[in-house]
Amino acid sequence: MTDLPTPPTVSAAGLTLHYGSTAALDDVSLRLGAGVTGLLGPNGAGKTTLLRVMATAVPADRGAFTVLGHDPSTTAGRQNVRRALGYLPQTPGFHPDFTAFAFVDYVAILKEMTDRAARHREVRRVLDAVDLGDVRGKRIRRLSGGMRQRVALAAALVGDPGFLVLDEPTVGLDPEQRMRFRELIATAGEGRTVLLSTHQTEDVAMLCHRVIVMAAGRVRFEGTPAELTARAEGRVWSSTERDPGARAGWRTGTGAFRNVGDPPEGATLVEPTLEDGYLLTLDATSAAASGVTS
């Protein structure tokens, strides 16, 4: 675990959670500071479970964590964590007959904002921030998928929480919407702690100052995107044929093969990407799990 550039605002130690005999989280420890931290991992890695634990939606079996100095292991502490939290779940749901404004206003009341005038100002602010100011009077059932996702983000942002937990917010969005979402998340990450789960390594490369890689319920890497990319330094090469010794290889648009793994003598090394580092981290994890040495 490398040092954080800012003091930690969220710390977790030894978080463990089992579903039956399966360890969804296995002794997870991490520290988050201000800015956007990306959480990468394959399906079933435990990302959503970790986010749900951090959002106090489900308690861990063991371990502890604090959010902005609040400990959620007590009822009062959990309430305080929730007051400092914005949460966008993987599959956000809505009351479809509510307008975008009414829904975010409802969430604002659930965040204990009882002063009507101030609350309405705040709802208008977050809807403008996610570019939904013009459709705030439209019923949610009439909004597109991307717009609904932005309503959910507005609901997470309302009240200006210090800790934002976003579970795959760009899934199912078209490239333009994804770009817009990245912009919103980057802005949201200014001055607050954002934990962003994603399958998109580009999201992490473009948005995050820190990255955590999870596999099989454990943290396999924690550091900067540059450090993750550096793991693939000297381990990516191009060739005219697919190299059978490569861990992964694919034909690129130019017709050449891009290979990731242990290059043969004299291979033409190419610049690695964050995705290469991520693939090799996962590969090392599965090799270690099956007892194979690389």
């Binding site: 710390s11 130690a13 959002a55 949460y87 809505f94 965040k111 204990e112 009882t114 959910a152 200006d160």
Partner: protein, 246 residues
């Protein structure tokens, strides 16, 4: 994006934080303000369509003895009143449906408060509905009001408990359909139970009082299950006390 509202928010959060660390009176007053503000959106979010369908269908069933020609039949009146209560209960089974459940999973206002508010908003409607259903039964064949109200209350509690249990154990945002189906199956199977066990006893049966004691237990049990399934997070094992690494 932040600007002025950072101050607004800071003001609100400060207010809330003060409340948590302050006197019980202020906490109660803050909760009361929140509940008052929640009434309109929660009322709007209620599943009014299934409630209306269940209510209207139930009233039509209860009205059959009054509308039919000839001498009212006590047995038919009792049967129809029970079926009416079950049909209204099917509508009530949707009361715990909350499509926004996951989006509002991590807010300070507790789930139990929201569920309680839903029930409180529907309770007057249910009382008026039940009164109307009873009044539709001709007076001469109207079964004992107290015992029938107990049966209807138990069916209502079962509908609520089923919904809350489905949410708790399956994390289902909209358990209405499965709960209604389970309630319907229960309602259809219950009369088939052996004589010593049946809940739907006839007016002159020796077991009337005994069956209604069982209804009372059922009501109590269902309310307990409902209340126990409301608190969240879903699993309430305490976190081990340890200090996070800094």
């Amino acid at each position: 994006m932040r600007g002025v509202t950072r101050a607004t928010k800071a003001m609100k959060v400060t207010e809330v934080t003060e409340v948590t660390g302050d006197s019980g009176g202020r906490r109660v007053s803050s909760t009361a303000r929140t509940i008052r503000a929640l009434v309109p959106p929660v009322a709007r979010a209620l599943p009014w369509l299934p409630l209306a369908v269940g209510g209207v269908a139930g009233l039509l069933l209860a009205a059959v003895p009054r509308m039919s020609s000839g001498e009212p039949d006590g047995w038919l009146a009792l049967l129809l009143l029970r079926v009416a209560a079950l049909v209204f209960g099917l509508g009530l089974a949707f009361l715990m449906d909350d499509p926004a459940r996951h989006t509002t999973a991590a807010v300070p206002v507790r789930r139990a408060v929201r569920a309680g508010l839903r029930v409180a908003l529907v309770a007057p409607v249910a009382v008026v509905w039940w009164t109307a259903a009873l009044l539709l039964i001709p007076e001469g064949v109207r079964p004992p009001l107290g015992d029938m109200t107990l049966e209807a209350a138990a069916i209502t509690a079962l509908a609520l408990a089923g919904g809350a249990a489905a949410v708790r154990f399956r994390d289902e945002p909209e358990p209405g359909r499965s709960t209604a189906a389970a309630l319907l199956v229960t309602g259809l199977v219950a009369p088939l139970l052996p004589d010593g066990w049946t809940l739907f006893v006839q007016l002159n049966a020796d077991r009337w009082d005994e069956a209604h004691q069982t209804w009372a237990w059922l009501l109590t049990g269902a309310l307990l299950v409902w209340a126990m399934c409301l608190p969240e997070p879903l699993r309430r094992r305490r976190l081990a006390i340890s200090t996070p690494r800094s």
